[in-house]
């Protein structure tokens, strides 16, 4: 099983005991997100609503690629890949 790094944005670090980045073992991008939630369960409600629908302004990157589709969630991982959670660049002040 590949081991990848998951990077957490500032606002969500309150739900990871301050962890900015941590390793998970997972075969796909989706499985890596599941593993991140398993490690820090309070992340779940901030990545998706209570019915499991992804929050539209939460972006997930697999290395440099934005994950937008089920196919990209199912993309296989390799050792050393990076999963980055970022908020979308939008909103006012």
């Amino acid at each position: 099983m590949p081991t990848v790094q998951v990077w957490i944005p500032g606002l969500l670090r309150d739900f990871t005991s301050g962890e900015v980045e941590f390793p998970v073992s997972a075969a796909t991008v989706g499985a890596a997100l599941d593993a991140a939630v398993a490690r820090h369960p309070l992340l779940r409600s901030h990545l998706a609503d209570e019915h499991g629908q992804p929050r539209p302004n939460v972006n997930v990157f697999h290395n440099e690629e934005l994950v937008r589709s089920e196919r990209e969630l199912a993309a296989p991982l390799t050792d050393g890949d990076r999963i980055t959670i970022l908020q979308s660049v939008s909103g006012g002040c």
Partner: protein, 363 residues
């Protein structure tokens, strides 16, 4: 005596502290912001095991809503579970925002009112939020329409003199009351003017866009509401309502507060119509009624001239533990207080982001 004022803003939570008997002439200490980056949409301030308890509803346009609690004055925070969430599959309502936090009078349990029109009770032993599903699945729900802020359940009222009764305000639905601890709910809008006509006759008693409800401290069957269409009172726990607008420069506004005096003293901050929504003539002014709404008078001494900032529904509150204290925050980030039931107002230190919620208590 120590006073704490919690100020929820779009950029986090601030706390003002003051010690001494004369708050008007004392030095206030400002702390915060806490929970920066999260909107503090509503605040609950109270005592728990002899400590100051802060509970805050938080929102992010990216990461959604949740609730956190602090028992050390804001220095550390613990999430209350994952936050409220509607049961069921996609297609059921979702929790968009925490609009109010309230301690039930009988049990002391914490409840959260949310958009989209839901009520949840925090179950401390299991660390989960329990949905009042009979409200979520109310028979008239298909006729419930949202206001500008969504389908928000923004007010919860309980009183230990009326066991089992829970009254809620939902924009733009109106007032609903349960007399059996939230098992069943009845619409209580008789006498209130609709904001817009209902599309279907079976929903003709809906669309009463209540902006805020307040319970009379002297009598739990006496309710008052600032509505989209005016200011009303009920002397029968909401079974029927009548207008109380004599002396007001405008019917429109958001907040309403009640001081435990004899008779009860009421406060509103009128705004110019639902199309304009700024203080009438640019004069930020609090109106007060000393006769349970029979008539109103301006009581703006100490408030600034030429101020076009509004006061939102959760940003006008009486001070818990004080007989004559009222606090309010504005959309331009100014905070004001009176400690003599509205005769004189004083601005508190600080210019804050847009103020969403204000609560005050003494220890």
């Amino acid at each position: 005596m120590a006073r704490n004022v919690a100020v929820g803003t779009v950029k986090g939570l601030f706390i003002l502290e003051q010690e001494g008997a004369d708050p008007a002439n004392a030095e206030w200490q400002l702390r915060g912001p806490y929970l920066s980056g999260w909107e503090s949409t509503t605040v609950s301030l109270g005592q728990r095991d002899g400590r100051l308890e802060l509970v805050v509803g938080l929102a992010s346009f990216v990461y959604g809503p949740h609730v956190r609690r602090s028992l050390d004055g804001g220095r550390s925070w613990v999430p209350l579970g994952s936050g409220p969430g509607f049961s069921g599959e996609e297609g059921r309502p979702t929790v968009e925002r925490i609009w109010t936090l309230h301690r039930l009078a009988e049990s002391g349990e914490l409840v959260a009112g949310v958009a989209q029109a839901g009520l949840f009770r925090w179950d401390e032993p299991t660390a989960t939020w329990r949905e009042y599903s009979s409200l979520s699945d109310h028979p008239t729900r298909a006729g419930w329409l949202p206001g500008l802020g969504g389908l928000c359940l923004h007010t919860v009222l309980t009183d230990e003199r009326r066991p089992g009764r829970i009254t809620v305000g939902i924009s733009s639905v109106g007032t609903l009351r349960s007399d059996d601890d939230g098992v069943t709910w009845n619409v209580k809008n008789d006498g209130v003017t609709a904001a817009i006509p209902a599309e279907e006759p079976k929903y003709s008693d809906l669309n009463r866009c209540v902006h805020r409800l307040v319970l009379d401290p002297a009598d739990p069957d006496h309710l008052y509401q600032q509505n989209h269409t005016g200011v009303y009172r009920s002397f029968n726990a909401g079974d029927s309502w009548e207008r109380i607008e004599t002396g007001l420069p405008s019917r429109f506004g958001f907040g309403i507060a009640a001081l435990d005096h004899s008779p009860t003293v009421l406060f509103v901050v009128p705004l110019t119509s639902d199309e304009v929504r700024v203080p009438v003539d640019g004069q930020l002014c609090v109106y007060r009624s000393k006769n349970r709404g029979e008539s109103w008078e301006a009581c703006g001494d100490g408030l600034p001239l030429s101020n076009y900032a509004a006061v939102l529904r959760d940003a006008l509150a009486t001070g818990a533990g004080e007989s004559s204290a009222v606090y309010f925050g504005t959309t331009s980030g100014e905070l004001y207080a009176t400690w003599d039931a509205g005769d004189n107002w004083r601005r508190l230190p600080g210019v804050f982001p847009r103020i969403l919620s204000v609560r005050a208590t003494t220890r």
